[in-house]
């Protein structure tokens, strides 16, 4: 570039005379740092500066409070992830890459029984084996831990009982792996085998020996870990339905299938502090759990998050093996490394819950959704993990994006003698979402209307409240549906393709950060904190505890700082690995990181920016309001020639105080209802998505091939479109696995039969359809530059879109996931038998003739489109709550205007007899009610 403004400092300081001698009293100090590698300033990139602040970036969804901080540097641009070089060159250090001097190898003795009491463990032969340096058992770890403070039910090693095959019994550290493995054979354990439970339905019944005991809160003598009841709205609306759908689903458990198996290295330093290296999504939770288990104050522990080779929720619990490594290292006085085999990864599981879900829904004569009734029985396996939350999410995350007349949910999570279930991408929302979206398709079929129009005519608008009290801010649902309809050529294909070819729709709704910070009061402490430090060299160091698990949180934080300060992204260095140096952060779960951390980072960066602008004011004499930050230069907005380089302004700002330091935090606004469980599913913003999938079904074999997906996701604002598209495509892959081929297979003996990546069938590149990612930008008022999550929500719609497409292809509703070829074939065989057709090639394809409701829906959708646009752009700021569609006044509490409007969290006695499968947990009484333990 030529004709720009020089960024390189130096030259202007008159410290030497023309003859080269020093000016009296002036000493030359060359400034440290170069201000970047390019000598000239780039022109402002107006295409990436919003029109509200004079740029050319269009803002159909309105302006944003962060617009004034935009500099056109990185936001909205396709930026390769900042850690990608480390990964593609093999320099990223994952859990098992950590090598400390003198390290020894730890191995874990695992339970061969599904459920058994440990009568005794004799370790004498283990200890006698040459090369063994430490041995530990449950006796060394009496303290319980767990990811949620309300359900701490795990020990580093079994204390009294083992709860599934593969549960941890003891551990040993030895000079090498071979010795450690040999030592495992020398433990002598005396067992009392107990009667195991595998079927979650059985978990609802009283057992001789429940898997855990919750004292006075234990429900009778069942294995129910958590039960939920929620009922909102006017239940009389469902009495005389115009159309209804009723489906019972069985969904297999699925695992995250991340590439990197768990690995940990623990080392007690010379001063008695623990350093723990682990690929964790939630280092802070691990930090807390280690402190509890080891009886060591938190400040004496440094948790170092290594690079994480994929997490997807599977590395978001504090794990017992992390505790084991620390215990062994303390005993041996040497660093201990434990790396899992894939089989062990499956045994520690915490993937998506195997679920039995029943959904009943009704619509009235105007095709308004008068009721959603959901019953979800979820199989928690041996431990609680995140299950308390999952039990709520299975219901409450179905309360949007549609306006509902009433909502009824019963959920129960039971313990079984299997590896624990927990959080996985789309936590708790995926299975019910699939059931609900397929139910809507079925209702559309009954009413003879287009399922997309049915959805478009029943959407909640932006800036509204759901039936459960969630605050919806930005909402791009409508645009997403319109875009996929257009992109997929839906109107020419739906119900018009030949047998075996089908197209289907599915929508999604997900939280963008959990509103409750779990460990502390959200009204007192922030969700996330970010520190920024700028030293004399001009480089910007950002300290955050956000755990980059491959989703790009480090890049997102670097990007927003780079954007605010108008510095090239290579000048921003993010430090996020060590708990010693990073501010406390809850970690990577519930799609909170971009929303919360980037918001905190913007605040910190704005503070630095203010200091720089004030320094420039001092130098230039122009007020900051008249100054522009652009590519390492600050200048007068009407004449770029009048300005200073970034480095000069920085050094001016640093006079008398050295490094510039700023701290920014994010705290969510107060929100939500007051009923029991109101905090579950509460988020400062929600993402929306709509997918259309096209499939080919081989009617003779039942093989499904998904060929194309049009995937629209509302992420508020794509800070980095490349990363968003990657998340959408990756989510499609993961969701396709769950809907087509992935399942944890528990055989007739209760053993997990496919604890390896050959038999656990993650789709390969050959099964991957063409995915057309479509980014919807609804500009969230509270998101960083308008952004919301894009990491989990995009997974939800692919499941129902495929299931609905299969129906369109072969006219058969299947409700057993995954739709492996044998499941589809069974469905086809049954249909052939019922319809007395011999050859599957002669099956009829479903067809659609619109009823008179169709034009009503189209007209209503059109009307709502105008409504939504005005609300999105805050031209209409009137209140809107779920219920307005049914004619209620949003300014008066619904309870006051509708007799029978309910907000209930416990069933009425007369309801008990009608509750679904999971609802049966409400027939049981807590111990305290029966005079049991207090």
């Amino acid at each position: 570039m030529s004709g720009g403004y020089r960024q390189q400092p130096g030259g202007s300081g008159q410290t030497t005379r023309k003859d080269g001698k020093r000016v009296a009293g002036k000493q030359s100090f060359p400034p440290p740092g170069s201000g970047g590698s390019r000598p000239h300033m780039k022109p402002r990139d107006l295409d990436f500066i919003p029109e509200s602040v004079g740029g050319k970036e269009e803002q159909p969804a309105g302006s944003h409070i962060h617009d004034r901080a935009r500099t056109g540097t990185t936001v909205g641009k396709e930026i390769p992830l900042v850690d990608s070089n480390a990964k593609v060159t093999g320099q990223a250090w994952y859990g098992d890459d950590v090598r400390l001097p003198n390290e020894i190898i730890g191995k874990i003795l695992r339970s061969p029984h599904h459920y058994a009491r440990i009568k005794s463990i004799d370790t004498s032969r283990v200890e006698a084996l040459p090369g063994v340096l430490a041995v530990a058992t449950g006796e060394d770890s009496p303290h319980r831990f767990g990811v949620l403070p309300v359900t701490k039910d795990e020990h580093a090693m079994a204390v009294e009982k083992v709860r599934h095959v593969g549960d941890l019994v003891a551990c040993v550290a030895a000079v090498d792996e071979a010795t450690a493995l040999e030592a495992l054979n020398l433990f002598e354990v005396e067992w009392e085998v107990l009667e195991p439970v595998f079927d979650p339905k059985k978990g609802l019944e009283d057992a001789d020996e429940p898997i855990h005991w919750r004292g006075k809160y234990h429900l009778s003598k069942t294995n129910v870990q958590k039960r939920v009841f929620q009922e909102f709205g006017d239940r009389s609306l469902v009495d005389k339905p115009h159309a209804e759908s009723h489906g019972k689903w069985s969904m297999a458990g699925v695992h995250h299938g991340f590439t990197e198996p768990h690995a940990v290295v623990a080392h007690w330093g010379p001063n008695g502090r623990l350093q723990l290296y682990t690929p964790q999504q939630v280092p802070h939770y691990t930090h807390r759990a280690l402190s509890t288990v080891l009886d060591v104050p938190m400040h004496q522990i440094n948790v170092i998050r290594t690079f994480v080779g994929g997490g997807f929720g599977g590395k978001s619990d504090p794990f017992p093996h992390e505790m084991c490594a620390a215990i062994l290292a303390r005993k041996a006085g040497r660093p201990v490394r434990i790396t899992f085999d894939r089989e062990e990864v499956y045994w520690i599981n915490r993937g998506r819950h195997p679920s039995h879900i029943e959904v009943k829904m009704t619509a009235d004569e105007e095709a308004r959704i008068s009721g959603f009734d959901i019953d979800a029985l979820i199989d928690g396996g041996g431990f609680a993990s995140f299950g308390h939350v999952t039990s709520y999410y299975n219901g409450v995350l179905a309360t949007a994006p549609y306006e509902l007349g009433s909502f009824h949910y019963t959920g129960a999570r039971v313990w079984t003698n299997k590896p624990a279930s927990g959080a996985m991408r789309g936590h708790g929302a995926v299975n019910t979402r699939c059931a609900v979206e397929v139910g809507l398709d079925e209702m559309a079929e009954t009413m003879q209307v287009d399922p997309i129009d049915l959805r478009l005519a029943n959407l909640l608008p932006p800036h509204s409240r759901t039936i459960s009290g969630f605050r919806i801010t930005s909402n791009g649902m409508r645009e997403a549906l319109e875009k996929v309809r257009e992109g997929s050529n839906w109107d020419e294909k739906f119900r018009q393709m030949p047998l075996g070819k089908g197209i289907g729709i599915g929508c999604g709704f997900f939280i963008s950060g959990s509103g409750l910070p779990i460990h502390w009061d959200p009204n007192r402490f922030p969700h996330a904190t970010v520190h920024i430090q700028v030293d004399m060299d001009g480089g910007v160091t950002v300290h955050t505890g956000a755990a980059d698990i491959g989703q790009g949180s480090t890049t997102a934080v670097a990007q927003v700082v780079s954007e605010v300060l108008a510095l090239p992204i290579e000048m921003i260095h993010v430090r996020s690995h060590e708990s010693d140096t990073s501010p406390v952060d809850l970690g990577s779960y519930s799609s909170r990181v971009t929303f919360m951390n980037a918001n905190a980072a913007i605040r910190a960066a704005l503070e630095i920016r203010e200091q720089l602008l004030n320094a420039a004011w001092d130098i230039l004499g122009y007020h900051p309001d008249n100054l522009v930050l652009n590519d390492r230069r600050i200048y007068y907005k009407h004449d770029p020639a009048i300005g200073v380089s970034y480095l000069k302004a920085l050094h001016k700002a640093q006079e008398d105080k050295g490094s510039l330091i700023a701290s920014g935090a994010y705290r969510s606004p107060p929100m939500g209802g007051v009923h029991k469980g109101a905090a579950a599913g509460l988020a400062p913003a929600y993402s929306f998505s709509a997918y259309v999938a096209e499939v080919d079904v081989d009617v003779e074999t039942g093989m499904i091939r998904c060929t194309d997906v049009w995937a629209a996701h509302d992420c508020g604002k794509a800070l980095n479109p490349m990363a968003v598209k990657g998340q959408i495509i990756g989510s499609c892959h993961m969701g396709l696995g769950q809907v087509l081929s992935e399942k944890m297979v528990y055989g007739r003996t209760g053993h997990l039969q496919n604890a390896n990546l050959l038999d656990y069938k993650i789709p390969s590149v050959h099964e991957m359809p063409h995915v057309e990612p479509i980014i919807i930008e609804s500009c969230d008022p509270e998101g960083p530059f308008g952004a919301k999550e894009a990491g989990e929500g995009p997974l939800l719609p692919i499941l129902p879109a495929v299931v609905n497409a299969v129906y369109d292809a072969i006219g058969i509703r299947l409700r057993d996931l995954p739709l492996t070829p044998d499941v589809v074939f069974k469905g086809i065989e049954k249909t052939l038998k019922n319809s007395k057709v011999d050859d599957p090639l002669d099956l009829p394809s479903p067809r659609l003739t619109h009823s008179s409701l169709q034009p009503t829906l189209v007209a209503r959708a059109q009307e709502h489109k105008l409504r939504d646009k005005a609300r999105q752009r805050t031209e209409d700021t009137s209140p809107y709550v779920n219920g307005v569609l049914f004619g209620f006044d949003p300014t008066i509490p619904l309870e006051d205007q509708v007799e029978g409007w309910r907000t209930a969290t416990e069933p009425d006695p007369e309801q008990l007899a009608e509750l679904g499968l999971a609802g049966r947990a409400w027939l049981k009484k807590e111990q305290r009610e029966m005079g049991g333990e207090n």
Binding site: R110, D341, E343, E700, T701, S741, Q753, N754, S764, T820
Partner: protein, 324 residues
């Protein structure tokens, strides 16, 4: 996963290999042959019947021949996927084996001698301990079979190779060599019904090569494979068919991945041909007959009932090409 230690022998001639085998047998030391290692070494990592000695065929010269009439045991499957003079049916089957990465190492000999598979057997040591072992890897306990319970005389692990059925319908012969010399037989006689014994190889013998007659070159055919994913996966069922164009009586059909051995189906073909060839009707009758003759058990990813049903579809799809 730590592989148990073993002594690796690297003979460079067939004679040397036989001599090493002979001497180990004399000393009473157990051993395995290894070719590409894509089957044996993962099993070793899982501690599935590892042996103290392993004799590698990789460095033996002249055992990787590739031609229309002869393929050596060390011929890589990747080389069989390109039509360098090899029978197109073999190319079709080889292209469907596992993944391209595995095919670069895996060999014809290894594929034909593939260990049988079973989800009670192909598991780690801790896992198998939790089921108290099984007949195929009983660790000295005399454990029962877990698929067909209450017996420990027959192993029903499934043979899941893709190439054997295609070679069977091409009437290939196998050549086996060992300390007691060379012997030759049709491929269908090579396999022996038991998931542990698997084939007729005696201790010390290995499969040297396969040969195809002039007549097989004139055959065309098809191989149909059932699997969930188009890569990696072993066949859940496989049907190969071959024929001489215009001559229905030349039809041969073989199946794989349904029992402990791959199998030819001459009786089913004969019974359909007896009533005269009637185009698609005969194809359907044959498909039904082959389906009826196989007895898959529940030890692979997909349920046996489904696999059996699919034999009808796969046979139909393999044979209907004959009347196209």
């Amino acid at each position: 996963m730590l592989m148990p230690p073993f002594v690796l022998h690297n003979p460079t001639t067939v004679e040397e290999a036989c001599a090493i085998a002979g001497s180990l047998m004399e000393k009473g030391e157990d051993f395995d042959w290894v070719a590409g290692g894509t089957d044996l070494l993962p099993n070793y990592k899982w501690h599935l019947n590892p042996k103290p000695h392993v004799i590698s065929l990789a460095r033996i010269e002249g055992v990787n021949t590739l031609s229309l009439h002869e393929i050596g045991c060390m011929a890589r499957l990747a080389d069989l996927t390109v039509e360098n003079g090899i029978h197109p049916l073999i190319v079709e089957a080889a292209s469907k084996v596992a993944s391209s990465l595995i095919r670069r190492n895996a060999t014809l000999g290894g594929n034909l001698c593939l260990d049988t598979r079973c989800f009670w057997y192909n598991q780690g040591e801790d896992w198998r301990r939790s089921i108290d072992w099984c007949h195929k890897a009983d660790c000295g306990t005399g454990a029962d079979c877990r698929v067909v319970p209450n017996q420990n005389t027959l192993c029903v692990a499934t043979y899941q190779g893709d190439i054997a059925p295609t070679l069977m319908v091409l009437e290939a012969e196998v050549h086996l060599i060992g300390p007691s010399g060379l012997r030759t037989m049709p491929l269908q006689e090579f396999y022996q019904l038991d998931g542990m014994k698997k084939n007729v190889l005696e201790k010390g013998e290995f499969l040297l090569k396969i040969t195809l007659s002039e007549a097989s070159a004139a055959r065309t055919g098809s191989y149909q494979k059932l699997r969930v994913r188009d890569t990696w996966d072993f066949p859940e069922a496989g049907v190969a068919a071959s024929w001489i164009a215009g001559d229905a009586t030349s039809l041969k059909v073989a199946t794989t991945a349904l029992e402990s051995i791959p199998r030819c189906h001459p009786e089913e073909v004969t019974s359909v041909l007896e009533t005269g060839w009637d185009g698609m009707n005969s194809v359907k009758a044959l498909a039904a007959a082959v389906r009826k003759s196989v007895k898959p058990v529940n030890n692979t990813s997909l349920p046996p009932r489904y696999r059996k049903s699919m034999v009808r579809v796969l046979t139909k799809r393999a044979v209907e090409k004959m009347i196209e």
